[in-house]
């Protein structure tokens, strides 16, 4: 089995053509990126606002309750509702992206909110005392200090969206989900397993790239840097905010992603 998967993965026939693995990876990344960018455009400003003002914290809870919605069910519902109103390929793309956006708003929003919330009150107080105005406090103090949690929210969002973007194939769209859906339909388990392997590798690669970005953009003053001294109150919120993301994510959505256990397991164990 493993040998045939490897053979499938390395064969040039698998990779070539418009429906080849290369094109599918690009499609898959495109859906994922589109979803994360749209979700971030909504969730980052919202999270900053909630964290900065301390108002409307229920928005974060509300978003987190969205995690309970089964992705596949939502996809069919949105596709049936929106599909007839849109023509062409967009009829498939828009429902898929909408569903993925809903999927990744919670981790991004909680990350941003938790990050801003966890900024030491003394630091924020000092910023105001120096004469920073509201937006200056957000830009110069809250965002840089929240960056580790903001980025871990984004990483978790990417992991989930890459794993879940496979569902787009159920409503006839491309992406790596094609191998899973078509493979199961035709009994071609080698390409099913191969597709799952590619999904997990892709998720890990993207996560690795983001980890690198995180190391570059987060101030060494926050990570302890060379001295290895930890800042008080920083390590705790990090684990508190990321672990619910992954644990609720895997338990509530796993029925919607049957057949992807390889990718799923790999993704979640990495995220925690």
């Amino acid at each position: 089995m493993i040998a045939s998967i490897l053979e499938w993965l390395t064969s040039s026939a698998t990779w070539s053509g418009e429906a080849g693995l290369g094109a599918r990876i690009v499609e898959h990344l495109w859906y994922s990126l589109l979803a994360v960018v749209i979700a971030a455009a909504v969730a980052v400003p919202l999270g900053l606002w909630v964290g900065h003002t301390g108002r409307a914290r229920w928005l974060v809870s509300l978003a987190n309750s969205l995690r309970a919605v089964p992705t596949l069910g939502l996809l069919f519902a949105v596709a049936l509702w929106l599909g007839p109103k849109i023509s062409g390929e967009l009829a498939f793309l828009i429902p898929s992206v909408v569903v993925l956006v809903i999927l990744v708003i919670p981790p991004i929003l909680s990350g941003v909110y938790a990050g801003v919330e966890a900024v030491d009150p003394a630091t924020r107080d000092a910023a105001r005392g120096m004469g920073m105005r509201g937006m200056e406090v957000v830009r110069q103090v809250e965002i840089p200090n929240a960056l580790p949690l903001i980025l871990s929210g984004l990483r978790s969002a990417f992991l989930q969206v890459i794993a879940t973007a496979t569902v787009a194939a159920y409503i006839g769209l491309g992406g790596l989900g094609r191998y899973l859906v078509d493979g199961i339909k035709t009994g071609d388990y080698v390409s099913t397993a191969g597709g799952a392997v590619v999904v997990s590798v892709l998720a890990l690669l993207v996560d690795g790239v983001l980890a690198l970005v995180q190391r570059l953009v987060v101030s060494p003053g926050l990570t302890g840097g060379r001295t290895g001294r930890t800042r008080r109150g920083r390590s705790e919120p990090t684990t508190a905010s990321t672990s619910p993301t992954t644990s609720t994510g895997s338990s509530t959505r796993s029925p919607a992603r049957s057949g992807m256990s390889a990718g799923d397991g790999g993704v979640d164990s990495h995220a925690t």
Binding site: D120, A122, T123, D125, A126, A127, R128, G129, M130, G131, M132, R133, E136, V141, P144, N145, L147, S219, P220, G221, L222, G224, G225, R226, T227, R229, R231
Partner: protein, 372 residues
């Protein structure tokens, strides 16, 4: 000049943090607000830069009502030093110091130069400039905090227990650095502390607040020690206030006795007496020896170093302490270069003290006028 006019801060739950406070912090002087916890000293301080808004009353800065000023602009014009320093963890030391200049729109180069200059002034090595706050000791962080408050050269500084979180030795150093800076810069400073010793050491004027935010007494430290207005203030300024008040009385011409001295390495042969003072080549006192216990040359191990050294230009407290702590009962007095000028005995200092007037009402009035 900062003026409080009937300022009250009352919280919605009915707690009164500051009760009808009126006082003036004169230009170029250090005004210390001191009192037990819950006396509203920090609240009073934070009302000056409007981190807290007063419920009623008026706070003015050089005659201008701060309540009518733009908050951010007001704060940018006031240096603020926070307990535990409150540095920005994500910024390097030099960028922390440059915070307010950058907010005020200085260019990067100018800000950097100014920040480096200030780090030097507060006694931080240049190589610390690119470190992050978490890599500094508590004392170093506090120095950065002071430098950050001074960066845009504000005429007014607010300091909220800035030295309370460091150990006593470091605190003493920081206080000295701070007094040195102030003697050069002459800022108008309001300083909050719960430590009466710190208040007396640093304050040109000390305001004692009692729990509930009422002003108990305000005066210069010497007068405060000599004339506490009631039992609360008397208790708060402490038991040894009589002795401590001597620190504000400059030693008049001390009746000095010249000493027979020995150089380090000299032989004690032919030297008599209980105790002999040993000095170095520049005539700086090193310690006392008992000639009878030394055979041959005096070495460093023979020296008794228990005595303190008073400066001729210092206070009566220094002179008395030198006499009391000296094993020979003769207090060592040096000039400003640290060279021995003679010794003085405790009873001689005491008769000087008795001949000196205690700080009285006239003196307090004179201070108030000078301050205004």
């Amino acid at each position: 000049m900062i003026r409080f006019d009937g300022v009250t801060k009352k919280y919605p739950d009915g707690t009164v943090a500051v009760d009808d406070l009126s006082l003036t912090a004169p230009t170029g002087k250090i005004t210390v607000l001191v009192g037990p916890s819950g006396c509203g000293k920090t609240t009073s301080l934070r009302m000056i830069n409007r981190m807290i808004e007063p419920t009623s009353g008026l706070i003015s800065l050089d005659g201008q009502d701060t309540g009518r000023m733009n908050e951010a602009q007001l704060r940018r014009g006031i240096g603020y030093v926070i307990q535990h320093a409150g540095l920005f963890p994500h910024r390097t030391v030099v960028d922390n110091v440059g915070t307010v200049p950058r907010l005020l729109g200085w260019d990067k180069k100018e800000t950097l130069e100014r920040s480096r200059e200030l780090l030097d002034r507060v006694g931080l090595a240049p190589e610390l400039a690119d470190r992050y706050p978490s890599q500094l000791s508590g004392g170093q962080q506090q120095r950065v905090g002071v430098a950050r408050a001074l960066a845009a050269d504000p005429p007014v500084m607010l300091m909220d227990e800035p030295f309370s979180a460091v150990d006593p030795v470091v605190r003493d150093q920081l206080q000295d650095v701070f007094l040195d800076l102030q003697s050069e810069l002459g800022k108008t400073i309001v300083f909050v502390t719960h430590d009466i010793d710190e208040a007396i050491k640093l304050g040109d004027q000390v305001a004692v607040l009692r729990v509930g935010g009422k002003l108990a007494q305000i005066s210069d430290p010497a007068y405060l020690l000599a004339h506490p207005v009631d039992d609360f203030v008397a208790d708060f300024v402490g038991r040894d206030r009589g002795y401590r008040s001597l620190q504000f009385q400059p030693a008049p011409k001390l009746p000095l006795t010249s000493e027979r001295t020995l150089l380090l390495g000299e032989s004690t042969a032919g030297v008599s007496g209980d105790w002999v003072l040993v000095v170095d080549d520049s005539h700086r006192p090193l310690g006392w020896v008992e000639p009878a216990r030394v055979s041959g040359e005096v070495t460093s191990e023979h020296l008794h170093r228990g005595g303190t050294v008073a400066r001729a230009s210092g206070s009566l407290r220094g002179a008395l302490d030198a006499a009391l702590s000296s094993p020979s009962r003769r207090g060592v007095v040096v000039d400003d270069e640290g060279e021995l000028v003679g010794t003085v005995r405790a009873h001689e200092v005491l008769s000087l003290i008795e001949a000196t007037d205690r700080p009285d009402e006239d003196r307090a009035d004179a201070f108030a006028e000078e301050g205004a």
